[in-house]
């Protein structure tokens, strides 16, 4: 399969993996009900999935665990912005500014 075709197939399958959960109960109506244990467990899936992606993104540098890197400083600034302000742009501005500021100071 060509890379281009594989990419579009990826989009379509990821699209189905989005639309089917969204439509699930809206389509089924109240005929089917999830067991409450499953409902409660599923609540943790998004937070777990987000953390599993973002934490290694920030703390791992070229395969090695290296928590003290400019990305961590950027992340700290972004978190502060989320907690202290309601401005939806500020986390991005603060995070990028600190990332580049720290990189410039570190000389690289």
């Amino acid at each position: 399969m060509s890379a281009e075709l594989l990419l579009w197939l990826t989009f379509i399958l990821a699209g189905l993996a989005t639309t089917l959960p969204r439509a699930s109960f809206i389509i089924l109506g109240s005929r089917v009900r999830l067991p409450s244990v499953v409902q409660r467990a599923l609540r943790y899936a998004p937070a777990a999935a987000l953390a599993a992606i973002v934490v290694p993104d920030v703390l791992v540098v070229s395969g090695g665990f290296a928590p003290l890197n400019p990305k961590l400083a950027g992340v700290a600034a972004a978190i502060a912005a989320v907690l202290l302000s309601r401005n939806p742009w500020l986390p991005f501005i603060a995070g990028m500014a600190v990332l580049h500021g720290v990189r410039a100071l570190a000389g690289g």
Partner: protein, 234 residues
């Protein structure tokens, strides 16, 4: 279009409009992140239309970038979207008396913001036409904002040099989603357990560590909820 549909649509749009501004940075960042992953503008907008989900798009981009296997990308997208099963179950009653094709459309357009904004009235109001208008107006508005501002991000990204590390914006975006969730203790435990596991298992082939980390995170959150409840009753 009948008048109660239009009345519902006006009402829904009015309630959602101020909230919808929050979508704009997301859409711009997602557009930029898709370009910095190496997509052409056509591929980026294709993904934006087909997937139409910020979290799933941003979350799968790092996997697509490293050439992860297709099944892993799909399983990750599914994990990121599991919350919609809960939302869908919660709001399902709001679609009583509404036909199948409109239900499919509504399901496809279900987003966090629309869910949060529409849930209450969808349960209470009797008139199905009013409810459908009330739901679809914010949903379609979200869709339009998402496509237009992602396109702006896509076009802007091309004129920005690589060393600006725009892909870091995707990490920030995921974090911005995670933080309000992590304000609840068991959710924080789930995120911490999952994040730590993902770092420890980063060497596993096919990034299987990611799946293990998500499962560990769900288990840890569930356990924390259990202990939390026990601590309260004791």
């Amino acid at each position: 279009m009948n008048s109660s549909f239009r009345a519902g649509a006006r009402e829904g749009f009015k309630v959602f409009l101020p909230l919808s501004v929050g979508l704009i940075p997301w859409a711009v960042v997602t557009g930029m992140a898709m370009i910095s992953t190496g997509f052409t503008p056509v591929q980026a907008m294709g993904m934006n239309v087909i997937v139409f989900a910020g979290t799933a798009q941003l979350g799968t981009l790092p996997l697509i970038a490293i050439g992860a296997p297709l099944w892993l990308i799909v399983v990750t997208a599914l994990a990121l979207n599991l919350r919609f099963i809960i939302f869908s179950a919660a709001i399902a009653q709001g679609f009583r008396g509404i036909g199948a094709s409109m239900r499919w459309l509504s399901g496809h357009l279900l987003t966090d913001g629309v869910f949060a904004c529409c849930l209450e009235k969808m349960m209470k109001v009797e008139d199905p036409k009013w409810r459908l208008g009330y739901y679809l107006a914010p949903s379609i508005w979200s869709w339009l904002l998402w496509q237009v501002f992602a396109l702006i991000g896509v076009l802007a990204a091309g004129s920005i040099p690589r060393h600006w590390s725009l892909e870091f914006m995707a990490s920030i975006a995921l974090l911005v989603l995670l933080i309000p969730m992590a304000k609840q203790r068991p959710m924080l435990v789930a995120a911490a357990a999952s994040g730590a596991t993902a770092v420890m298992l980063r060497g596993m082939p096919l990034r299987l560590g990611l799946i293990v980390a998500i499962v560990v995170g769900i288990g840890a959150g569930f356990a924390a909820e259990h202990w939390h409840a026990k601590g309260k009753t004791a």
